[in-house]
């Protein structure tokens, strides 16, 4: 996962970025950093300030709230999406249950890139509209 093209291929597998053209993902790949966390290590804890998005490309993690397990996740997955966009506090804690490898994106660098790349914003908007549509359909079904 050291070259731009490998990172683009990985980013395409993340639902959040699925509607972004691959050429634009190459720009996004340019601001990613590779990090590794050991088994048992926390990526972040509930209440932490959100500044980065973590993209798990190898490993398994668990998300917990107040000690109880909420979700177990494995690669490929984006972790900390909502906090990354609203800059709020982390709502869950994220811990590694195996050695985990991530690409991280810093929010400030990400917004700088968005300013310059309208096609990136378009792709993200599509993702969020899809999510809202899905939620609306679910809430309609409940009603």
């Amino acid at each position: 996962m050291d070259t731009t093209i490998e990172r683009v291929i990985f980013l395409q597998r993340i639902e959040l970025f699925a509607d972004i053209p691959s050429e634009q993902l190459a720009h996004l790949a340019g601001i990613t950093r590779k990090i590794t966390k050991s088994e048992g290590e926390f990526l972040f804890r509930k209440g932490d300030q959100s500044q980065s998005l973590y993209l798990l490309f190898d490993g398994r993690m668990e998300l917990t709230r107040d000690g109880s397990l909420k979700k177990e996740i494995s690669d490929p997955e984006a972790i900390g999406v909502w906090g990354f966009f609203d800059g709020g506090e982390r709502l869950l804690s994220a811990a590694c249950i195996s050695e985990c490898h991530f690409l991280t994106i810093n929010s400030m660098e990400f917004y700088d890139l968005l300013e310059e790349r309208v096609h990136l914003s378009r792709g993200l908007l599509k993702y969020f509209v899809k999510r809202i549509r899905k939620l609306t359909e679910v809430s309609d079904a409940i009603v």
Binding site: D2, T3, T4, I5, E6, V8, I9, Q12, P21, S22, E23, A26, E115, E116
Partner: protein
């Protein structure tokens, strides 16, 4: 009946003012006319900031003595723009002297308001204007010194005659909380200064300032100075997205005579691609036929990204002024070229096995075809109704087959046969095979082998397609492609080099 007609006129005028329908450059209001006076007075007291501001702009050519009282009240408005405009209008009012109360505005946080306040004091104080300006140029408060400099430069001409030789250095070496404001004010003032040497010396310095507000003012001043020695530096900085719009405005301020120079730079392949991409945007600030003609002369550029920026600028100009004439022959020739490009990409896409690792090249080709389609519809928007074409383009992207069919039917009705010929096989709901068959008939596109398709992409101009094509070279590919990968490993372009190195390593371990 006369009264009714008059009431109708008043209501219409009031409505136009409220809705800001009157062009500010097309009218000189006569405030001696009671109806106009009452509507303007009412409007200046409006709750709506945009309405007040619009009305102030309407008053630019009028004798505003009659509304001086209202303008005076607006000096205390919370909106900076309203306050500034009211102050500027009051400069010409002699029936009301506000020198004592207006001095309060010297401590306003906005540098332009401080500047205009000093100008007002120069014009309306009992003392000689030169004495007044000199008193502020040597004032203890550096903010007022810089405001005075700005005032003298903007309104008086040669401010440099009034100051000591080290005036600028002393002000620019100020540090502290007002540093940015002072530098920004100096940067602005330099735009009005007649001494070319001083303007060049300090603007060049301020262009590298760490504060964006200062840099933006320096750029605007370079545009105002219209000294063509600034042009190369401004063009080189077009790659800086933070200042790109300011730079474009500044370069546009040099006027249409410089468009040929900008065109030459656009075609200069030794220039950074980001700089070249930024050039068409300059033209968008000059909505004239001459501009359109130059852009049409630039549209032949082969590079798809560069061509996209030309088309986008033409779209902007046409939306702003539908009277601008487009050479339909030229546009149609570009439509033909773009359609050919689409089918060439489709022919290469057709060769891609679906089981290739990660399908990165396939996706890149699909994206490039989608971009070609967008350019085609933008081009159609130059010779047909732009909004119709945009709507049709969106409908064709829709997931609804009904919408897509309706869009195709619409195109069938409005496109001329010459355009239909190229657009239809691309827009119609056909399979890729059917589209390609039509494309081959239209352009005699030859049947390629897989490796020939890859070779075309690797030798092409598009860096992303080149990288994806290199990534797709497997150990089974012919020697000519392996050689290309080896060559790319020595490329100066980072993306190509690292992709080629990756492929060489991957293919080596696959063959072992």
């Amino acid at each position: 009946m006369g009264i009714k007609a008059r009431r109708g006129y008043v209501n219409k005028f009031r409505h136009s003012v409220q809705k800001q329908l009157i062009g500010t450059d097309s009218i000189a209001l006569n405030l001696d006319e009671p109806t106009i006076y009452s509507v303007i007075k009412e409007s200046l007291q409006s709750e709506s900031e945009s309405q007040i501001l619009h009305t102030l702009y309407l008053l630019e050519e009028a004798d505003v003595d009659k509304v001086a009282g209202e303008l005076r009240e607006l000096l205390y408005h919370s909106s900076r723009d309203i306050k500034l405009k009211a102050l500027q209008l009051l400069q010409d009012v002699d029936t009301l002297n506000l020198t004592d109360e207006i001095k309060e505005l010297l401590s306003d946080s906005d540098p332009e308001i401080r500047l205009e306040t000093i100008y007002y004091l120069c014009r309306h104080s009992r003392e000689d204007p030169t004495t007044v300006i000199k008193s502020y140029l040597s004032h203890d408060d550096t903010k007022l010194r810089s405001a005075a400099l700005g005032c003298a430069s903007k309104h008086g001409g040669s401010a440099t005659d009034l100051v000591e030789p080290d005036f600028f250095d002393r002000l620019l070496n100020q540090h502290g909380k007002d540093e940015t404001v002072i530098k920004a004010q100096i940067a602005e003032a330099l735009g009005y200064i007649e001494d070319d040497k001083i303007a060049r010396k300090y603007l060049a310095k301020l262009l590298d300032d760490k504060h964006p507000a200062v840099v933006k003012k320096a750029i605007a001043s370079m545009g105002r100075q219209q000294n063509d020695r600034f042009i190369p530096e401004l063009i080189n900085r077009l790659s800086d997205k933070e200042y790109r719009n300011e730079i474009r405005k500044a370069l546009a301020a040099f006027g249409t005579d410089y468009l040929i120079l900008y065109k030459d730079r656009f075609f200069d392949s030794s220039l950074d691609l980001e700089v070249r991409k930024g050039i068409p945007g300059i033209f968008a600030y000059l909505p004239q036929q001459k501009t359109v003609d130059q852009l049409l002369a630039m549209i032949d550029i082969e590079h798809p990204d560069l061509r996209y920026h030309i088309i986008k600028t033409l779209n902007k100009l046409v939306l702003r002024d539908s009277e601008l004439g487009m050479s339909s022959g030229k546009i149609r020739e570009v439509i033909r070229q773009e359609a050919l490009k689409f089918f060439k990409l489709l022919a290469i896409k057709d060769l891609q096995p679906a089981d290739r690792p990660n399908r990165i090249l396939l996706k890149a080709l699909e994206e490039k075809m989608a971009q070609t389609q967008e350019r085609l519809f933008r081009l159609l928007g130059l010779i047909y109704d732009a909004k119709d074409m945009f709507g049709t383009y969106l409908a064709l992207q829709s997931l609804s087959s009904e919408k897509r069919s309706a869009a195709v039917e619409f195109l069938d009705n409005i496109l001329e046969p010459a355009d239909r010929r190229y657009i239809f096989p691309i827009a119609d709901d056909l399979t890729d095979d059917e589209k390609l068959k039509k494309g081959r008939e239209l352009f005699q596109i030859p049947h390629l082998r897989y490796d020939e398709g890859l070779m075309q992409l690797i030798e092409g101009e598009d860096p992303w397609l080149r990288a994806c094509a290199i990534y797709s070279v497997s150990p089974q590919c012919p020697a000519s492609l392996q050689t290309k990968v080896k060559q790319a490993a020595g490329s100066s372009e980072h993306l190509l080099r690292e992709t080629a190195e990756l492929v060489l390593e991957r293919n080596r371990s696959n063959s072992n």
